[in-house]
């Protein structure tokens, strides 16, 4: 018996998606292409029935502040609260964790030389919640237990793209050494191209985003050479969130099949979606 990664998903986590969702506007013409694109991924997850979702995301001042902002933080709780980011907590059920699995993951990562912060209390926010409610039903409860993994992508110095990729490889080793038959899906969230600060606010780069998706599929190693400077120049200051997709891709094998892909850039962010399935 051992844990197994069944696949990985890359998804944007734009907060306005959450607002549109909460307001029941998912079928409005300008939103429909985004929400409908998640149908095949939701169906695949419903059929696969993963036990655990490891969600790689960043905290935008939901629970963490710059007094102590961890480079990598891993949740190790049986339940996670919903953060109030300033607009009040969203009407979503609190996700359940699996503390035993999380502690195994943490132990494996630390002995694998990833010196993470272990969090026994952690409130999750839009970076985590938006991809979750796009991918999973949640009324009255989420069908999967979660491990939130928060990455610093907002206060430089950030971990390198290659470090995030290696974290994914280490997560895979941890899952495969778990003494249980847990089926695990991993979500890498954030991006794609966007910039929220300065006169360049609103910069997006759909060509670059689509090249990133192509390479994520066929040549992910090449993406680990990207520097933060290169990502920011091409795709905007906040596009550095995409290094979290490399953690997902590092945890998924080269033999995995890309089963779904979508791209939509209506406003200020390239909203990407990609799903990989491991061979049975």
């Amino acid at each position: 018996m051992a844990g197994r990664i069944i696949g990985g998903i890359g998804s944007s986590h734009v907060p306005s998606i959450g607002v549109a969702y909460d307001q029941g506007r998912t079928q409005e013409p300008d939103w429909k292409p985004l929400f409908d694109a998640y149908g095949p991924v939701r169906d695949w997850l419903a059929a696969q029935k993963p036990d655990i979702a490891i969600v790689i995301y960043n905290d935008h001042g939901g629970d963490f502040f710059f007094d102590k902002y961890p480079t990598f933080a891993v949740g190790a709780a049986d339940r996670y609260g919903i953060a109030d980011e300033g607009w009040g907590p969203r009407p979503l059920p609190e996700p359940e964790g699996d503390a035993a699995f999380s502690w195994h993951l943490c132990e494996s990562l630390v002995y694998d030389e990833f010196d993470i912060a272990v969090c026994q209390e952690m409130k999750v926010e839009h970076g985590f919640l938006v991809p979750m409610h796009l991918c999973f039903p949640h009324d009255p409860a989420w069908p999967v237990k979660v491990v939130p993994v928060a990455v610093n992508v907002i206060q430089h110095p950030l971990p390198t793209a290659r470090r995030c990729w290696k974290l994914g490889q280490a997560i895979r080793r941890a899952v495969e050494s778990f003494p249980g038959d847990s089926r695990v899906v991993i979500l890498g969230t954030g991006g794609m191209s966007h910039q929220l600060n300065g006169a360049r606010f609103g910069h997006i780069n759909p060509d670059w985003d689509n090249d990133f998706l192509d390479r994520l599929e066929s040549d992910p190693d090449s993406l680990t050479d990207l520097t933060h400077q290169q990502i920011m120049e091409e795709a905007g200051a906040e596009a550095v969130e995409l290094i979290m997709w490399l953690t997902m891709r590092g945890a998924v094998s080269k033999r995995a099949t890309r089963i779904h892909r979508n791209y939509y850039a209506p406003m200020t962010t390239g909203m990407g979606l990609i799903a990989f399935e491991e061979p049975a």
Binding site: D30, G61, E85, G86, I154, H156, N197, E233, T268
Partner: protein
């Protein structure tokens, strides 16, 4: 240090990299913003903006920008966008309004530059 991730000889036009210098100079401002994640603090701020910010150690120049709703100024003063948005959550200024201010445009002008402005 091994590989450099930021090339300071190649500043990106119109772009602030939120690094050590930015987070240090914006620290008190951003800490005040973070306090607005508590509902009681939002009410206290609304009741007495200047007094609340004084109690939270916000510098006078920054207090003036908040009161003037000068979000572009706050972003140029070490404000982190995710923190500054928490002020907007209280005052009714959304991300695209804050963004338009940074671009020197009205919200309407900014929205005209977008593909599908209903997706907001």
């Amino acid at each position: 240090m091994t590989e450099r991730q930021i090339d300071r000889s190649r500043p990106i036009p119109g772009t602030t990299v939120f690094d050590a210098a930015e987070t240090r100079r914006g620290y008190a401002l951003n800490r005040f913003c973070m306090s607005l994640t508590e509902p009681g603090n939002r009410e206290a701020f609304k009741a007495d903006e200047d007094g609340y910010m004084k109690r939270h150690g916000v510098a006078e120049a920054h207090r003036r920008m908040v009161i003037a709703r000068d979000f572009g100024g706050l972003m140029n003063a070490g404000g982190n966008i995710y923190m500054v948005m928490k002020i907007g959550a209280v005052t009714g200024h959304g991300l695209y309004t804050i963004g338009a201010m940074q671009r020197g445009e009205t919200l309407e002008q900014f929205l005209e530059t977008r593909q599908a402005k209903g997706a907001r």
